[in-house]
């Protein structure tokens, strides 16, 4: 077991640190959460800078160790989050890289890396959330196109996305997992209506997407027709496996800030609170180690993260909520003030045990795929 990095990796870290120190102060101010066009521009602008400095492909091409260094250093420095680039960089992109044709890789991957195109994820439907394979949005062949009708819900970033990784039912007669196909849907195609939905945290973070006889070229299909469930499993393993890793570092930063605040406002003298923060420190240190462990395992087995991602996602999502509950304890009555940065974060942390598969679903995945328990209902 080895936790040290090679000299080349440490050199990468040093160069990145230096670049961050130079680049971050020159960034424009962050737009308000309600300003979607502003957020899109800001997030793409950050991706553009990464591209120009040679860091854009880190999520895909670099070794897992280098990727971890990248996540660690950018989060420590307080660099912008992937934001609107989340789906493209962290799961649509890797899925296309793993399952797409050469032509598809050439068409879709470079614009993601250059910060030119935003992707969203059209998986969930009003009647198909946890039971994703129950999705009903229909697609049928008409010449070189699929014609798609139906609706999607909770589609993050749909308002500003150029593309959508879309799951459709192409084999209505087949068993439900067998009749699904994975399509890249251009969000400007005629027949698409996006209706923003507000989240409990305030801003319209996600949307409903209505699809009325939208034509999608057959060439936009990733994987075979009716083989979309398998492709989806690849996407979901990226989503759960690696997409949250950098956030652990951010949580550690928040925790240290909480300790500073508690020392300032006198709450530190309460041993129960102090110990609670100490325990959270243990939790997030362990989660970072678990990230390193999972990344090393993925490195050894050659790429796609396994069910270990569910272990991480489950534990992390609850730890993040505990962190912001502790923040509320540190803040006292101020925890109700939306202008305190930790208050909106506490609200948005409520999504983590739901999005990307609920905690209950992650438990079932672990029971069935890791422990080999019989499939339940």
């Amino acid at each position: 077991m080895d936790l040290s990095y090679t000299p080349e990796e440490e050199e990468f870290r040093a160069r990145l640190r230096e670049w961050l120190a130079r680049t971050l102060p020159a960034l424009p101010p962050r737009p308000s959460p309600d300003d979607w066009p502003g957020r899109r521009a800001y997030d793409l602008g950050w991706q553009r800078r990464l591209y120009e400095a040679g860091y854009a492909g880190v999520h895909w091409d670099a070794t897992p160790s280098v990727r971890l260094i990248f996540l660690e250093e950018t989060e420590k420095a307080g660099a912008p989050y992937v934001g609107a680039n989340f789906v493209g960089l962290l799961h649509a992109g890797p899925t296309i890289a793993a399952e797409g044709t050469d032509a598809q890789r050439a068409r879709w991957l470079p614009p993601i890396l250059r910060g030119e195109e935003v992707w969203c994820q059209g998986f969930s439907e009003p009647e198909a959330g946890s039971d994703l394979a129950a999705l009903r949005t229909r697609a049928w062949r008409d010449g070189d196109d699929y014609v798609v009708s139906g609706s999607k819900i909770w589609t993050s970033h749909a308002e500003v996305a150029d593309w959508c990784e879309l799951l459709v039912r192409t084999g209505p007669a087949a068993p439900k997992h067998r009749g699904i196909t994975w399509l890249a849907l251009p969000m400007d195609a005629p027949g698409i209506t996006v209706r923003p939905l507000r989240t409990l945290a305030g801003p319209a973070e996600f949307a409903e997407v209505f699809l009325d006889e939208v034509r999608v070229p057959v060439a936009n299909r990733v994987g075979d027709e009716n083989d979309g469930w398998r492709v989806t499993m690849v996407t979901l393993s990226f989503e759960r496996g690696t997409a949250f890793a950098g956030e652990v570092v951010a949580c550690r930063r928040v925790l240290a800030e909480l300790a500073v605040e508690a020392r300032k406002n006198g709450r530190w003298d309460d041993p129960a609170l102090r110990r609670r923060l100490g325990r959270l420190n243990a939790e997030f240190r362990a989660l970072w180690r678990l990230t390193q462990w999972n990344v090393s395992a993925a490195e050894a087995s050659g790429g796609v993260p396994g069910a270990g991602g569910s272990v991480f996602k489950l534990r992390y999502s609850h730890a993040r909520q505990d962190l912001y509950d502790a923040a509320a304890e540190v803040l006292g009555p101020d925890c109700l003030d939306l202008d305190r940065p930790w208050t909106p974060d506490r609200l948005s942390s409520l999504a983590y045990t739901i999005a990307a598969g609920t905690s209950q679903v992650q438990h079932s995945i672990i029971a069935e795929r890791i422990l080999g328990l019989p499939k339940g209902r």
């Binding site: 077991m1 990095y5 240290a256 110990r275 362990a286 272990v311 422990l371 328990l373």
Partner: protein, 358 residues
């Protein structure tokens, strides 16, 4: 960064697991508990009486030199007949009973552990030890935890090289830890002040305890880490036991593991165990006091809650004396009292939260 077991380390772990299974298997554990339950007597004894039998069976499935050497040491190759050799305190021979009292430590087993290299693992080769590091010690203590191996393992391991006979398992060394001493009556040497020691009726049938009024010295981080490794062993073992039972036991016409409530209990055990594993192994690599404090918190939680949930999965069977599950829970509870408990570790980690770490 390659945060995974090397081939040597894997070979060591597997070798130790096999060696322990031969010397202290489930039947031996049961027998020891029954003896202790009858009020001491012949006490805690290794399953295979003549622990030197089966010479030359390599436990290490390949691996490089270091691991193979360690596993060979732990497999006891080249040693024989340790089962009959009593330690300085005198062995409890098979028929030698006592009317009542705490469990006795099987000196044969202790010597066998010494032959295995259990205590001398981190003693340099130049001093006759195995010459391995903290990471290997953690893997070995994890296996000890898995097997519920009785005795003052951590105290004797830490005394190797300092107390004569500790490294070879000839001397049993106990240590005062906080307000408690484990295995005081059976020890040949004790570290710490035991003035005024009073026996407790220990809740763990295989860990006799004394309470001492002694002041609390600052806990040794290595002791904390090795205890965490034992807890990790328990956490992994109860996860296996729970999953096995959930697959096998049928109610309402199907395996209980098909019921989501049960499956989710089992998954929770695994998540805690795997998180603890990453923390404990990382702490072994860094030996950083804050990492060690984190490892102990996660490992205590994984062991105690894991054992409780495993008991729940076993239903009435779990609450039955004959089951192994309660023994894991009780031992896990014993270990939570060591080295200042989690309170101490939480304070260490709170203190580590400084503006510089922002």
């Amino acid at each position: 960064m390659r945060f995974r077991l090397t081939d040597d380390q894997r070979a060591l772990r597997d070798g130790v697991r096999e060696a322990l299974a031969r010397r202290f298997d489930g039947r031996a554990l049961r027998a020891a508990v029954e003896e202790a339950d009858r009020g001491g007597g012949a006490g805690v004894r290794g399953g295979a009486r003549g622990t030197g039998e089966g010479p030359g069976r390599s436990a290490a499935g390949g691996g490089g030199a270091g691991g193979a050497r360690a596993a060979a040491a732990l497999d006891g190759r080249g040693h024989g007949g340790t089962g009959s050799s009593g330690g300085p305190g005198g062995a409890g021979g098979p028929g030698e009973g006592r009317a009542a009292g705490p469990p006795r430590l099987d000196r044969g087993l202790w010597r066998a552990l010494g032959d295995l290299g259990f205590f001398a693992l981190r003693v340099p080769e130049t001093d006759g030890g195995v010459g391995l590091g903290l990471t290997e010690a953690v893997l070995v203590f994890e296996e000890a935890g898995r097997a519920l191996l009785p005795g003052p393992l951590v105290a004797t391991h830490l005394a190797a090289g300092a107390v004569p006979g500790a490294a070879t398992g000839e001397t049993v060394v106990a240590a005062v830890d906080g307000g408690l001493v484990e295995w005081l009556a059976e020890a040949d040497a004790v570290r710490g002040d035991t003035t005024g020691a009073v026996p407790l009726r220990s809740l763990d049938p295989l860990t006799p305890l004394h309470r001492v009024p002694a002041a609390r010295p600052a806990p040794d981080p290595v002791a904390i880490l090795l205890t965490a490794a034992e807890q990790l062993g328990t956490a992994g073992r109860v996860c296996e036991l729970a999953a096995q039972h959930a697959r096998a036991r049928e109610q309402f016409g199907r395996p209980i593991g098909a019921f989501q409530a049960v499956a989710h209990l089992c998954a929770g055990i695994l998540v805690r165990a795997e998180t603890a594993r990453a923390a404990v192994y990382a702490a072994a690599v860094t030996a950083d006091p804050a990492d060690i404090a984190a490892a102990r918190i996660l490992a205590d939680e994984a062991a105690v809650r894991g054992a409780r949930d495993c008991l729940q999965v076993h239903g009435g069977m779990g609450f039955t004396w004959e089951s192994e599950v309660h023994l894991h829970l009780k031992r896990a509870w014993v270990r939570t009292q060591r080295a200042g408990g989690v309170t101490e570790s939480e304070e260490v980690l709170a203190a580590a939260l400084t503006p510089e770490t922002v």
